[in-house]
Symmetry: C2
Subunit: 384 residues, 2 copies
């Protein structure tokens, strides 16, 4: 296996893009990534997407998008792991380049969600859960996460209000990200007064969906001149699963798959949580921020909320998270999210994230989750 570097990044704003189709969004992000890298093409493309078949009646995205961007002929395919599709596609591209099978790989995450009726989107998102034992019983995706949060509050004795810092932090960081879906600072009072969605999850615990695409270009690290600017390498990559239905898990408030994939990524990168300068985690719901921080070794079991209450998750804190707004405020175009996280991590490592730049950021971690902790993919990037 050879080392792989990210030499180009691109993204569209996460928004309701009424004037842009799925392929147009993907193309916009891809061209931005190619331009950023100073390249015109790539050998293969890996597409992270969850819902195109259901919501856009379009599969075969590999052929569709390579055709649309004027590169018909290239190898291209879609990789799906529910809301973890973006990181799964990134990992596929990474392995293809590291295996020497291809010399350059585009990875694009794309999702088009807002053209459908909300009930259609809710039903489509429920395909991430167990169709027989969860969705068929009427459990929507937010309802599953509400059960998890309720159990967490009950088990460890936290109050709902203790989760406010996570949402406030994401909104504060998104204010400075032109690609974010939400540009509005929120306060503790806003959080407390937000409309209930599925108790205890209220509107400010939950991330908004959206249309969007993000892309990166991967090449072998040894193909880059040592005289060139900073090289961003992928030094850790691992994926793990857990039972798809939460009731099958021994401990529904512990992300076993996050722990497994993070541990493997740490080993590969030869670092531990203490060396991670920032963590782009999967805050689809505020409870997931807490569970991710605990499973990845940043907080003791049951103590995750402390990091928020102590201000350690802000860009000036001990472990800055969701530095560009996270899912909560940048938005969560589900199959694209994992690639947005990588793009944002590269911005931090390049020092292009002012005014939410993490000072001296050299090692960043990104973690993308498919289903309610069912598929979890962790990447560690390093600037050299």
């Amino acid at each position: 296996m050879r080392e792989v570097a990210i030499i180009g990044i691109g993204q569209t704003p996460v928004d309701e893009h009424w004037d842009k189709s799925l392929k147009e969004l993907a193309g916009e992000a891809i061209f931005a990534a190619l331009n950023d890298a100073g390249r015109e093409t790539a050998e293969a493309m890996y597409i992270g997407n969850m819902l195109s078949g259901i919501l856009s009646k379009q599969e075969n995205l590999g052929a569709l998008i390579s055709d649309w961007i004027g590169l018909p002929g290239m190898e291209a395919e879609k990789v799906e792991a529910a809301c973890g599709s973006g990181a799964a596609a990134f990992r596929a591209g990474l392995i293809a380049v590291s295996s020497e099978d291809v010399e350059s790989a585009l990875v694009v995450g794309v999702e088009k969600m807002t053209e459908s009726l909300p009930i259609e989107t809710t039903e489509a998102l429920a395909t991430a859960a167990d169709a027989d034992y969860e969705a068929a019983q009427g459990l929507s995706f937010v309802a599953i996460n509400a059960l998890v949060m309720q159990l967490y509050l009950h088990t460890y004795g936290w109050k709902h209000t203790d989760f406010a810092p996570f949402s406030i932090n994401s909104h504060a960081n998104a204010l400075h990200n032109p690609y974010a879906r939400l540009h509005e600072a929120i306060t503790q009072k806003d959080y407390l007064n937000a409309r209930m969605v599925a108790a205890p999850i209220n509107l400010l615990d939950a991330s908004p969906t959206g249309d969007g695409a993000a892309a990166v270009l991967l090449v072998p690290a040894d193909s880059l001149s040592t005289l060139s600017r900073l090289v961003i390498k992928v030094v850790g990559s691992a994926s793990a699963t857990d039972s798809i239905a939460i009731h099958s898990r021994k401990d529904p408030i512990w992300l076993t798959a996050a722990e497994k994939s993070a541990r493997r990524a740490y080993e590969q990168a030869r670092v531990g949580p203490q060396e991670i300068d920032f963590f782009e985690l999967h805050d689809a719901f505020s409870i997931m921020s807490v569970l991710s921080l605990e499973a990845c070794g940043f907080a003791e079991r049951g103590k995750g909320p402390t990091l928020g209450l102590d201000g350690e998750i802000t860009v000036k804190g001990r472990i800055p998270i969701t530095t560009r707004g996270g899912l909560k405020a940048r938005g969560h175009p589900v199959g694209a999210t994992g690639v947005y996280q990588i793009v944002e991590a590269v911005q931090q490592l390049r020092g292009e994230a002012a005014p939410t730049q993490v000072e001296g950021a050299r090692i960043g971690m990104a973690q993308n989750i498919g289903g309610s902790g069912a598929t979890i993919i962790t990447h560690i990037l390093k600037a050299e």
Copy 2:
């Protein structure tokens, strides 16, 4: 890159499996492959599937299936390239093992199609085509292939009846395959009298869909004892795309992506068409057999039907095709088909395909197509 070997194969019959869900079908094929290999587990799993989101309201198949087979925790993801999903997943598993990222990979192709209404399946299959410019205009998938066949007949002056040998051959071979969907020999007269579907494609030009799963287990070739039985290696693997809509192609009756991916696979395997002992091609429609044979160098442009008329495609012929029944008679559970082809190629190379065994088969090729020639993936296997 290290060499990769296939050490286990498994499959379910292609059928209407009213008593088995998608995950049960997948599990049956996986356990058969593990048993065949004498193994109990694998490090990662790559799932070829096209329609689970639309027809079964279930995505996140990686977590679902690893959980179901009692191996929650393993890395697992779905790969989608329309009807080429099976080979795309196989290629993903192959690259993962060859890259040294994993030491063993399960690949399973699975599709559950017959529980839905025929109109739902037809609409779902149309997601392989261009949603904006083909499907939205009312072009079903069979209608697209009918246009291609009509143009081929017109351009080269063949008659519809000249395609009969392809369907007759597939049905004859399937008679001896217990996993095939159709076990009925057909005659020239049956072919001529078959009910029209979309002129000139009649019922005996078209493959039946079905429920089914096929699986293989991949490991590094150098991990196998040289004293062990025959080693089946993957010596060529390549994927290419073409424009998704047929009207965008310069030549709609030439499979550019088949030519590209086959050429690359030949180069990797250091063979040419003359060294291929049999060819498991993608006969979703009889016209596709002809186009595949031409694009891969087995017949001159416009001369493909000759191979059928001269008896060269039977197991005793110069280039035996669809030796276990092909899509036409083994059946076409779309996202699973590419893995069925690999399983059948391994049966031939092991000498386990009597009475349709190709004598002395040592090098076999399998080619899987997503959309109407839009994504084409070619593999070459060799027994050593």
